[in-house]
Symmetry: none
Subunit: 541 residues, 2 copies
């Protein structure tokens, strides 16, 4: 029987205090549904007393039929010298319609005197009155002991008294907060261990990542006896963020043998992490532990042959457990085993004797010599493989493109591209403007293709990176352009290398469009100016 | 007396195993200089046996006069059944010319049998022979005990025997490696503690971040007795990266009271982190612990007044300690201390009452808002400072430029730029070709200026980097261009930001030329078509 650890997600409240993180009410509702699906126990939705947007959320969320999660509202203890039942913020907590509330209160004497500017005794009364009042109103109450660790280190007795008061007033859980994020794991362990002997209700932990140890701190607290863990998806949060639940969960469940979520829900961690990154409009770090694109990616040639034989030699857990998967990167450091693994992903078996495989291997070597690097451009790599295996369609051919840039005086700046394509035996000439030569080229190319392949309107470029390869020649040197494209659900990356940045960008652009059209070939109805018909691609290699 | 912990940086080797991280030989040399400046004890430069690029690095690095750091080369124990002195890879380590080497060997019996496919006894011989041979050749030897923690958990006796053999063969340090990154802090502590009682030489630690606890693991190891910590700047590295030295250092030095670097060098951590992100062409995460832009950023409201009166209420350490600064997002105080610090480097004292200082402060704020970041573009920053302090000369004015790019058929590709300048009251019209629009622009600009300032022939662009700022709009988003220039002895970096890549590049190009001409103003003899005279710049601001 595994011991249960309760998860308390504050992505919607503390998470949105992170710089650049902003969630609409609809975004919040979407995230709630996902968190409920995997079985997060508590979802802190916001601070009803602090802004009207949060109040709207608490109304809307009542319409959801949640299967696992309890929605909680966040607030503070009553104000100084006010009766609990007359405190506006406590009132709003009750009005929010939730069944669980988390209120924070001060436990650091220094903070009481310097920030709150009241007496130590009044602060204890504020905690007692607020908890008791909320309990009287039938709510489950979590008391967030703000600055607990800093407070405890400076005045053990007062910090302990503050949480004892909350316990006596009927709180259901005391969450010890490392508000500044500066405490280290060995301190957390020691202090939580002590507190667990003095407090008889559930102890929780709330960590911040200012020391880059928030996950370790959360684990330490659980090992010392805490059974309620607060954090956010992907570690969003004020300053350096909160403890990242996406990493806390598998560490607790897979490595330390606690029960956090149902075993079958563990494999949703990768998708929920990506989903929240998307909703919050954040780039997903490829090296994010457990769920990142690189988390189980193997680059060194030596590693690869070993990992294929015995994954446990270079993987700390099975990637499938958390819904991630192994990737083998094709790079200058890699050997043939990388390539073979890669090809297998698209169901090509590479046999050194097969002339197609031989062609592919030679092509890759040649391309890498030119400066191509496929580890971050898997779509281009897949096209290369498809080409070698004669699965290729030509959707358009370039006749020419021209670009004109003109800077004239302070305000006049224009960038135009003219592209002439041959699409399905028709010549198409288009022109477009852009914020730079590549943007103009992208616009003109898509303008020319849209009339034939309307589906192309669904895709867009989501990232554009340029890297100079041989830096001794600077602007005259070779450049590698990486383009990331998306159709709103999937993303794919393509690459172009050339001595000319425009040419390199063009190659990556063409690959991006080619990849999208090939992937969706079954959806393509060619709309030509002359007739509408099912398009049969030219088998051109 | 604080105990010393030795830092071993492997950004150049393990760091480049990270997906998307690729460093040229010149990039590596640049990073070495920075690491030496802050006093990192060991810098692992690469694996001379594995690729020719690394060998080139080891040759070039010998020309540097390093004040603190020892360059180390990475390799493995000898191959099976080969004598150490006949092993090609060990030979290459010796030939690399370093004084310190790190060789890895297997300590997990399962790996010896399954991955290495040899006997447990032969593996011990491989370790013994290799260490002894390198010692005979006068080298300091660090033995990287690969998979040590996994090995120790499965077969204590063999893992211990393997490192004992290395000790007996004369190794100077045993670095215990958590190769898969899956071990947790409490396990690291317990195992390192035991090993320290059994091994009499220095114990090191090498952690990976697969469990998001690499920093905590490194701290645990030191608390258990390790005195050598391996890691990378910003935590780059295979899969989820290595232990992030940028976080390990302040945790050890500020919180746990060990000595890692000289106290005065601690404040360079923020700038070195940014510098390495720039060189590696990686976006610096704004929530990066200690050094991120948001690490000490306080959102409006309650926190602000408290943090200004008593920073310790919401800051775990003083941001200045590590060269970062507090940002109060609603206040105008942000950025000032940073700025004053930088301006001091060029002997400008910034006084808030001085109108020039005021002008500069406003200008910087405006520029930073536009997306400028002067961390890696000090020449542009110095120009900005000079402009505010009325030390400015205008060497030329732009009338217009035009760029024409044409791709026509397989082989015809042309890129031409036309530039019209006003130099010393003369109008100059030039045209030039290039390998891309920026290269063509650079050629045309310099062609136009050379006849007036022949000294310009000595300078050239040595690096060119582009970064997209707002990645959601891809090719239509803002770009930041960084240009590095050189005259063969000195190097300087300039920046341009614009929605248009050409415009951003032009701004950086102009700064680069302007900086060079100002630096060498005393050498400039203006050669005009009409007359030769000492140039007196227009005082233009």
């Amino acid at each position: 029987m595994r011991e249960q650890v309760f998860l308390y997600d504050t992505t919607l409240r503390d998470g949105t205090q992170g710089e650049g993180i902003s969630l609409s009410v609809d975004d919040k509702i979407k995230i709630v549904k996902k968190l409920d699906e995997i079985g997060v126990h508590y979802i802190e939705g916001g601070w009803p007393g602090s802004n009207p947007k949060d109040m709207e959320f608490f109304q809307k969320v009542q319409d959801l039929q949640l299967s696992h999660s309890k929605i909680t509202a966040f607030g503070s203890t009553r104000r100084i010298g006010v009766k609990a039942k007359e405190d506006e913020n406590l009132q709003k907590l009750i009005e929010s319609g939730v069944k669980v509330v988390a209120i924070f209160g001060k436990t650091w004497d220094f903070q009481v005197i310097e920030a709150l500017k009241t007496t130590l005794e009044e602060n204890l009364d504020m905690i007692r009155d607020s908890v008791a009042y909320l309990k009287e109103n039938g709510l489950e109450v979590i008391f967030d002991a703000e600055h607990f660790f800093d407070g405890y280190k400076q005045n053990k007795e007062y910090a302990l008294k503050a949480i004892k008061v909350a316990e006596e007033a009927g709180a259901d859980c005391i969450a010890l907060c490392d508000t500044n994020g500066g405490t280290l794991p060995h301190e957390i362990y020691k202090i939580v261990k002590t507190i667990c002997t003095k407090i008889n209700i559930q102890i929780g932990i709330h960590c911040h990542n200012d020391g880059e140890v928030a996950v370790a701190n959360s684990l330490s607290a659980v090992q010392a006896g805490a059974r309620h863990v607060q954090g956010t998806i992907n570690g969003y949060g004020e300053r350096c963020g909160n403890a990242n639940l996406i990493s806390v969960i598998p560490n607790l469940q897979v490595k330390l043998n606690y029960e956090c979520v149902k075993k079958e829900n563990l494999s949703n961690l990768t998708s929920i992490s990506k989903y929240v990154h998307e909703v919050a409009n954040q780039a997903a770090p490829s090296n994010q532990p457990f769920v990142g694109k690189s988390a189980f990616a193997h680059k060194g040639g030596m590693h690869v042959s070993a990992v294929l034989k015995h994954p446990e030699t270079y993987e700390h857990i099975k990637p499938e457990l958390i819904g991630n998967s192994r990737r083998v990167l094709v790079s200058e450091l890699s050997g043939q085993s990388n390539l073979m693994f890669k090809a297998k992903e698209w169901n090509y078996s590479i046999d050194k004797k097969d002339p197609n495989s031989k062609l592919l291997l030679e092509k890759i070597k040649e391309k890498e010599h030119e400066g191509y690097q496929y580890e971050a451009a898997e779509a281009s790599f897949e096209l290369l493989v498809k080409k070698s295996f004669s699965e290729w369609k030509e959707y358009f051919l370039l006749d020419y493109y021209k670009i004109f840039v003109e800077k004239n005086g302070e305000d006049i700046f224009s960038t135009e591209a003219v592209v002439k394509l041959c699409v399905h035996d028709e010549m198409v000439l288009t022109a477009a403007e852009g914020n730079g030569p590549v943007n103009a080229l992208d616009h003109a190319l898509r303008k020319g293709l849209e009339q034939f392949y309307p589906i192309i309107k669904n895709m867009y470029l989501s990232d554009y990176k340029v890297r100079v390869l041989d830096e001794t020649e600077a602007t005259a040197s070779k450049v590698r352009v990486l383009i990331e494209s998306s159709d709103g659900t999937e993303k794919w990356s393509t690459i172009g290398v050339s001595g000319n940045i425009i040419k390199a960008s063009w190659l990556a652009l063409v690959d991006s469009v080619q990849y999208y059209l090939m992937k969706n070939d079954n959806l393509i109805k060619v709309v030509s100016n002359k007739k509408e018909e099912q398009f049969i691609g030219l088998n051109n290699h």
